[in-house]
């Protein structure tokens, strides 16, 4: 078998492995589903009344932010999953097999993408239940999901790099979260950035997560998107372009 075909087959096997595991590890499913649902309920019913979103109902404003936050937080699961595999010795066995080296990390990030897609689909249902009414065209909504998946993929690689840089699963867990809170909250995901102090606005308006949230929101709500979609693609493509070689290097070093 030629080497790209082998890499594809092996990645496929690793993806299969991770997906059949998924329903068998309750913690992961609970984490992946309960947390975004909790955020929806909190922001929709607790904070939502106090947040002004001109021109749109708060639930319409909120849900695209929740989708983006859901896929971004998937990075933690990617990191923890890989760290667990390293700790338990599964990776060592993989490395003793004549399989494609790339399949371990590619299989991990691709299966996390599939998991995130499923979770976003569930969140879409939850959103509709609490009053989310997207007005964008079908084409625009498909593009919005495409952006979310690209974001999921890019963030998974960040999680992988973190997992490969830390020694213990616990460290991966803390380090995996610590940067996500400022990134997702100091953004336009939950509140309009113009309510923030000016020193924070500079960051909040321009950072990549806000760019993605604004693009996804504009697509869902039939607002003008401008160059937001392209800017998001460039950001997430750029993050992937940096993180994939970095992860590969770290993986070689960690397992060399």
């Amino acid at each position: 078998m030629t080497s790209p075909a082998r890499a594809l087959k092996d990645s496929g096997v690793v993806v299969w492995r991770q997906l059949i595991q998924l329903p068998r590890i309750p913690e992961v499913l609970v984490f992946a589903l309960i947390q975004p649902v909790m955020f929806v309920v909190l922001f929709r019913y607790v904070f939502g009344g106090a947040i002004q979103t001109p021109g749109e109902s708060y639930v319409n404003y909120l849900m695209p932010g929740i989708f983006a936050q859901t896929v971004a937080f998937g990075a933690v699961a990617s990191g923890i999953g890989l760290a667990e595999d390293l700790r338990r010795g599964i990776i060592d066995r993989f490395r003793s097999l004549p399989m494609a080296r790339s399949a371990v990390l590619v299989g991990r990030t691709v299966s996390d993408l599939v998991r995130n897609a499923a979770v976003v689909a569930v969140m879409m249902g939850v959103g509709l239940l609490v009053g989310f009414r997207p007005s964008g065209s079908l084409g625009a909504i498909i593009v919005a999901f495409g952006l979310l998946f690209l974001t999921s993929f890019a963030f998974s690689w960040i999680g992988v790099v973190i997992a490969l840089s830390m020694k213990t699963v616990e460290a991966v867990q803390s380090a995996g979260f610590i940067w996500l809170f400022p990134l997702t909250f100091a953004s336009s995901a939950f509140v309009p950035t113009d309510s923030m102090p000016s020193w924070l606005q500079g960051f909040a308006v321009n950072q990549p997560f806000t760019v993605v949230v604004n693009a996804v929101r504009a697509l869902f709500l039939a607002q003008p998107v401008g160059n937001l979609v392209w800017l998001s693609v460039v950001w997430m493509g750029g993050i992937s372009a940096v993180m994939i070689p970095l992860a590969t290097r770290q993986y070689r070093r960690r397992t060399g």
Partner: protein
């Protein structure tokens, strides 16, 4: 010393036999030279490995003939696992070279991986997959087709007495079942050479026994097995040849009989209550067994190898009573790893943290 002589002999034999022969030819040939070459499954020459400041391996040499179980015996942290990890291409040596099935592990790791199986403490199964799913996954990743992998998985599950548990998540398996699944995983692609890294550590006696039976059966199929273990009993039972490793060095190498001959088949051990009685007890043992006793000052023990077990014990026990020495323990013992170590190195097997540092 005799053991080192043995090594030298093997080296000389092989150098002579392989000189001028093309490298990497593995086909059987009636020529003596060709046979000699293919008769070596694993060759390790001058391999060293350092982790931070810890020297885990120091110029290790090993030659493992094809078709046997070779036991690598040593305490925790002696360098056994580091050796296996280097041979299984998981780790690169700092210096020296190693070949597996004639293939250099550093230059052609991918080719080595096609020929080996790895099982034991560092190679896990996926606890969220069923036994069957685990085997199919590892088979597929070894390059097997889906159909072949399923068929082979079924065979191995039956052979390893796991058929009933085949479709249960392996997290629910007992320790012994998990180790059998682990071993089966390493056998999916029918490797010629199998590395078993402490396959029975932590198992109860029954689990250990059933694993031993399986390993013995493997060798009759012609598989070469490199087994690491902390248990002399295990190496004795399974291995045709044993290398004893301590602080990253091979300190002895030979057949189990040769090694045991160095410690005596059985030994009488006396543990004294008062350390001050140690010299007197040593004299009694020396007189009663006509062998130089080994003194373990830390634990206030004296051990001497004997050839006439029960009679020697009676002599020692009478003399100890006559001398009025109070004992904590007085008995006949089969040789343990500790005694092999005592007799080979003069110190007890101590574990260090070298392997944990990996």
């Amino acid at each position: 010393m005799e053991i080192q002589k043995w090594l030298v002999v093997v080296h000389a034999h092989n150098l002579g036999a392989t000189a001028g022969k093309p490298f990497g030819v593995r086909s059987r040939s009636p020529l003596v030279g060709w046979r000699a070459m293919s008769d070596i499954a694993i060759r390790v020459e001058g391999v060293s490995k350092q982790f931070g400041k810890t020297l885990a391996l120091e110029k290790i040499d090993l030659e493992i003939p094809r078709g046997i179980v070779f036991g690598l015996l040593g305490p925790n942290g002696s360098g056994k696992s580091t050796t296996v990890r280097i041979l299984a291409t998981l780790l690169q040596p700092d210096e020296g070279s190693a070949t597996v099935d004639g293939i250099d592990v550093v230059r052609h790791p991918a080719k080595v991986r096609e020929r080996i199986g790895l099982a034991g403490q560092y190679a896990a199964v996926d606890e969220y997959l069923t036994g069957h799913e685990n085997l199919v996954m590892f088979g597929r990743l070894s390059g097997m087709s889906k159909g072949d992998a399923r068929m082979r998985a079924g065979e191995l599950l039956a052979e390893f007495d796991l058929a009933d548990a085949a479709h249960r998540i392996s997290k629910t398996y007992s320790g012994g079942m998990r180790r059998r699944l682990d071993l089966a995983s390493s056998l999916m692609a029918r490797p010629r050479i199998l590395f078993l890294d402490e396959p029975t550590t932590g198992l109860d006696p029954r689990g250990r026994l059933s694993l031993w039976t399986i390993i013995q059966r493997l060798v009759t199929d012609g598989t070469t097995v490199l087994l690491t273990t902390q248990y002399l009993e295990e190496a004795d039972r399974l291995a045709q040849r044993i290398a004893v490793i301590d602080h990253g060095r091979v300190i002895a190498d030979g057949s189990p009989a040769e090694l045991k001959a160095r410690v005596g088949d059985e030994s009488v051990e006396v543990a004294v209550v008062r350390p001050a009685d140690l010299p007197a007890a040593t004299q009694i043992l020396a007189a009663a067994t006509s062998e130089e006793p080994i003194v373990d000052v830390e634990r206030s023990r004296v051990i001497a190898g004997v050839s006439d077990g029960a009679a020697a014990l009676a002599r020692v026990s009478a003399a100890i009573a006559e001398a009025g020495i109070a004992t904590d323990d007085l008995g006949l013992r089969r040789p343990t790893l500790d005694e092999v170590f005592l007799s080979l190195t003069g110190h007890v097997a101590e574990s260090s943290d070298a392997e944990e540092a990996e």
